[in-house]
């Protein structure tokens, strides 16, 4: 099939800006007063993308950030090809939580690529100090072979880049391409046994 569906999960504490990130990417807007009147829900979003001439539909799954749902978060990861783990660029506690999700993902869903996203970059311009230090996060990301993006949903900085990178990585991953080919193999081999008895 020409169309490939890609599942991306969003993880992060409440109020780190996950919804805003999706909103910015999908609808290219940002509203500080939290009134995206036109959309019913901002929990699931699908966006069509074009990568290397191939059509791709990215499904973005927002998750509930509260700790009481931690036990169920692995249900969300299942089958995800990419996870965006958000933390508030000035709140170190949100980064600690991000590390928890990364550990979870690494053990449960190996095939899922991890993208660490520091949100609300625009507030640094107003004198806020990032916590933890950007260097610390970069080292950490390199150590776990995750990509690191600093975004701002307010200005739109790096948002499209983040999602494009995800799509590119997905399409360039030989595993995903292989998967498509293997499915064709199955159909060829089973044509004899399955459908032309």
């Amino acid at each position: 099939m020409n169309r490939v569906d890609l599942k991306v999960v969003l993880l992060g504490n409440a109020a780190v800006g996950k919804t805003s990130l999706v909103e910015r990417f999908v609808n290219e807007r940002f509203n500080e007063s939290l009134s995206y009147q036109n959309t019913i829900g901002a929990a699931f979003a699908a966006k069509q993308m074009q990568v290397n001439g191939k059509r791709l539909i990215m499904g973005i799954w927002d998750t509930a950030g509260s700790e009481k749902y931690d036990a169920m978060s692995r249900i969300y990861y299942r089958g995800a090809k990419a996870a965006i783990i958000c933390y508030d660029i000035i709140k170190s506690n949100t980064f600690q939580r991000a590390k928890f999700w990364i550990r979870e993902l690494r053990t449960v869903e190996e095939g899922c690529k991890i993208y660490i996203c520091a949100t609300k970059n625009d507030i640094l311009k107003h004198g806020a100090v990032p916590s933890p230090d950007i260097n610390v996060v970069e080292t950490y990301a390199a150590g776990i072979q995750a990509k690191f993006f600093i975004t701002s949903s307010k200005t739109g900085e790096n948002v499209a880049e983040l999602f494009n990178e995800i799509a590119q990585d997905f399409m360039s991953d030989p595993n995903n391409v292989q998967k498509v080919e293997e499915v064709i193999d199955i159909s060829n081999e089973s044509k004899g046994t399955y459908c032309c008895q």
């Binding site: 099939m1 020409n2 569906d5 890609l6 599942k7 409440a14 996950k18 919804t19 939290l34 009134s35 995206y36 009147q37 959309t39 019913i40 829900g41 901002a42 929990a43 699931f44 699908a46 539909i57 499904g59 799954w61 927002d62 998750t63 509930a64 950030g65 509260s66 009481k68 749902y69 036990a71 169920m72 692995r74 249900i75 969300y76 299942r78 089958g79 053990t107 449960v108 190996e110 095939g111 998967k179 293997e182 499915v183 064709i184 199955i186 159909s187 089973s190 044509k191 399955y194 459908c195 032309c196 008895q197």
Partner: protein, 604 residues
């Protein structure tokens, strides 16, 4: 092959990796293994138990032979173990190929016949069916679907539900690829292909619903009851407990809560997995609408999940686990992995999982309060909460009412059927009567012919009857010489001979005494001579006694009678014609026949 390449959305309490460490997911139902490792494990176990049983039997046999002293207790233990193992072995091999393979054709027919859901699927896709009608595409689709359905039917008793699920998912994939690559489908637009894929899934699953939904060889039903009980226990949980912001006072919000509850309840009555899934989608969309009203803006996952949990708790949908499992197993996995439906369904699974593992902590409340609510000591004060609590009971009542309605309909059906049967029986009776009457009219029973039969009994020879009285001339010379009174006597004698016995009319056959008399006479006449001698000796005795004595003497005469009877069966071919054509028979009757008749009467 499929399960290892594309991870499916199997949700269970223990979503741990396979115990074998192969890197794939384990499952509580597979004892913590992944599907592949579990099968291997099962196989290993099976062969082991088999080995053990054989070993044990061999051990026992050899020990008996050598007469090794084993304490009675030990022997008993050994036997017990053996029996257990045998039982286990039996248990394992219970669903092995012993099952009939022939029956699936009938089963398929049974599943297809009068399936209104199937008709509905066809009606819903009428345009699509019309579009591909009488093209190679239709033939191919039909062929693929048929072979898949047959495969499921063949394997339903042999394979585990996970394997059936794998077959199904594999079929979806193969069929999708076939749509893509086969030349037969080259002229078809991608939209139609999508629709075809959907139709095939819908049709096949609707057809196989009875077999694949909550099958008896899984513990789905147990889990349904467990979650239902759990939700009932949690009916006091309020929106506040869950930290979901539901604007209870707004009637619009309430209306939306009720609608989403109804949507979720509808899931059980939907058949195809995607129909069930769309029930979930409707429910969730209504929740979002409701949240939008409550929050005053679009809700995100943080608000949505608690609200969904709330709705699930208040709806307590029937057979929740069975429905979730059915969707997980048989809904096209690509649909579940991505897309809105997949997202909502995943949230529903999360909600269920949350409910199952819910503690005081997850509701942010005191352990003591939690227990008080759980035990029913305390009930929520809020009236709307109470109303929602009643909601489930109301839904149960609704379900019961529909059940009762169904039963009522069935009873009336039975009643009408019974009346129909009664009418038919009466009609049958009437028909029978008239038929018998027509037959009787067509072939009247001519009893007059049989008149000769008893007459024959009386005369020894029928021809003697027609003979002119040749004996009379012999008597005549004497009478000429003698007086006329003798002449008178002669005429009376002639009269006796000519007049047929008036007593022997047919009615006498049935119940008249005259027949009995003749019978008695026949008896005596039939009985051989030695009875006659008896007769002579007991002449002075009354006739009654005479009859008795003849009867007493019958044993000695039975021999001759039996001989007669023997003759009767030998000549049997002539006999059946008697009742119908006695007239013809009278023409060629012989003395022998006469005798046979008499013996015939004796024996009857």
């Amino acid at each position: 092959m499929y399960s290892t390449k594309t991870p499916t959305l199997r949700i269970d309490e223990a979503d741990l990796k396979c115990k074998n460490g192969c890197g794939f997911y384990g499952n509580a139902e597979w004892e913590g293994y992944c599907s592949k490792c579990y099968r291997e494990y099962l196989q290993k176990q099976r062969s082991q138990t088999e080995c053990n049983v054989y070993g044990q039997v061999y051990d026992l046999a050899s020990s008996n032979k050598n007469n090794v002293q084993i304490s009675a207790h030990q022997k008993y233990e050994e036997k017990k173990v053996q029996q257990e193992k045998k039982y286990k072995l039996l248990n394992i091999s219970f669903r092995k190929p012993v099952t009939k393979v022939q029956g699936y054709q009938e089963l398929l027919y049974e599943l297809t016949k009068d399936n209104s859901d199937l008709e509905k699927v066809k009606a819903d896709n009428r345009d699509l069916i019309a579009m591909i009608a009488k093209t190679p595409v239709e033939r191919d689709v039909r062929k693929c679907m048929h072979s898949f359905i047959i495969e499921i039917l063949q394997n339903k008793d042999v394979k585990r539900i996970e394997e059936l699920s794998e077959i199904t998912q594999n079929f979806y994939q193969v069929f999708a690829k076939r749509l893509e690559n086969s030349a037969k489908y080259a002229d078809i637009t991608p939209e139609v292909k999508e629709k075809l894929l959907d139709y095939v899934e819908r049709y096949a699953m609707t057809l196989l619903y009875r077999i694949l939904f909550c099958p008896p060889f899984t513990n789905d039903e147990e889990k349904d009851l467990a979650i239902q009980k759990r939700i009932r226990q949690l009916n006091w949980v309020s929106g506040k407990n869950l930290e979901c912001r539901i604007h209870e006072t707004s009637s619009e919000v309430r209306e939306l809560v009720y609608t989403s509850i109804t949507d979720l309840l509808n899931m059980d009555s939907a058949k195809a997995p995607q129909e069930k899934l769309s029930c979930v989608i409707y429910c969730c969309r209504n929740i979002f609408l409701m949240l939008q009203q409550s929050v005053g803006g679009p809700a995100s996952a943080d608000e949505f999940l608690p609200a969904l949990i709330f709705i699930v708790l208040k709806a307590n949908p029937a057979r929740l686990k069975s429905n979730i499992n059915f969707i997980t197993r048989f809904c096209n996995a690509s649909r579940l992995m991505t897309g809105e439906g997949g997202y909502y369904f995943t949230n529903l699974c999360c909600a269920v999982s949350f409910i199952e593992n819910l503690t005081a902590e997850s509701l942010n409340m005191d352990e003591k309060d939690f227990n008080a609510y759980m035990s029913g000591e305390r009930v929520p004060a809020n009236t709307w909460e109470s109303a929602l609590m009643i909601c489930e009971s109301l839904h149960l009542m609704c379900e019961d009412i529909t059940l009762l309605d169904e039963m009522k309909a069935k009873t009336t059906e039975i009643m009408t059927e019974a009346l129909n049967l009664k009418e038919k029986m009466l009609q049958f009776q009437e028909e029978m009567k008239s038929e018998v009457n027509t037959v009787l009219d067509r072939t009247p029973l001519l009893i007059t012919h049989s008149q000769r039969l008893p007459t024959n009994l009386d005369c020894e020879d029928i021809e003697s009857y027609q003979l002119p009285p040749p004996i009379i001339p012999q008597v005549c010379p004497t009478t000429i010489n003698n007086s006329t009174p003798q002449n008178d006597m002669r005429t009376s004698l002639i009269e006796d001979c000519i007049t047929p016995s008036p007593t022997f009319d047919f009615p006498s056959f049935i119940g008249d005494d005259s027949f009995d008399v003749s019978k008695a006479e026949d008896e005596t006449s039939l009985i051989s001579l030695d009875t006659q001698s008896d007769f002579d000796t007991q002449q002075d005795k009354s006739t009654n006694e005479l009859l008795v004595s003849t009867h007493l003497n019958l044993p000695c005469s039975t021999e001759s009678e039996q001989e007669d009877y023997h003759g009767f069966t030998v000549q049997g071919s002539n006999i059946p014609t008697i009742p119908c054509s006695t007239g013809d028979l009278s023409l060629n009757t012989t003395e022998m026949d006469c005798e046979n008749y008499t013996s015939y009467f004796h024996n009857t």
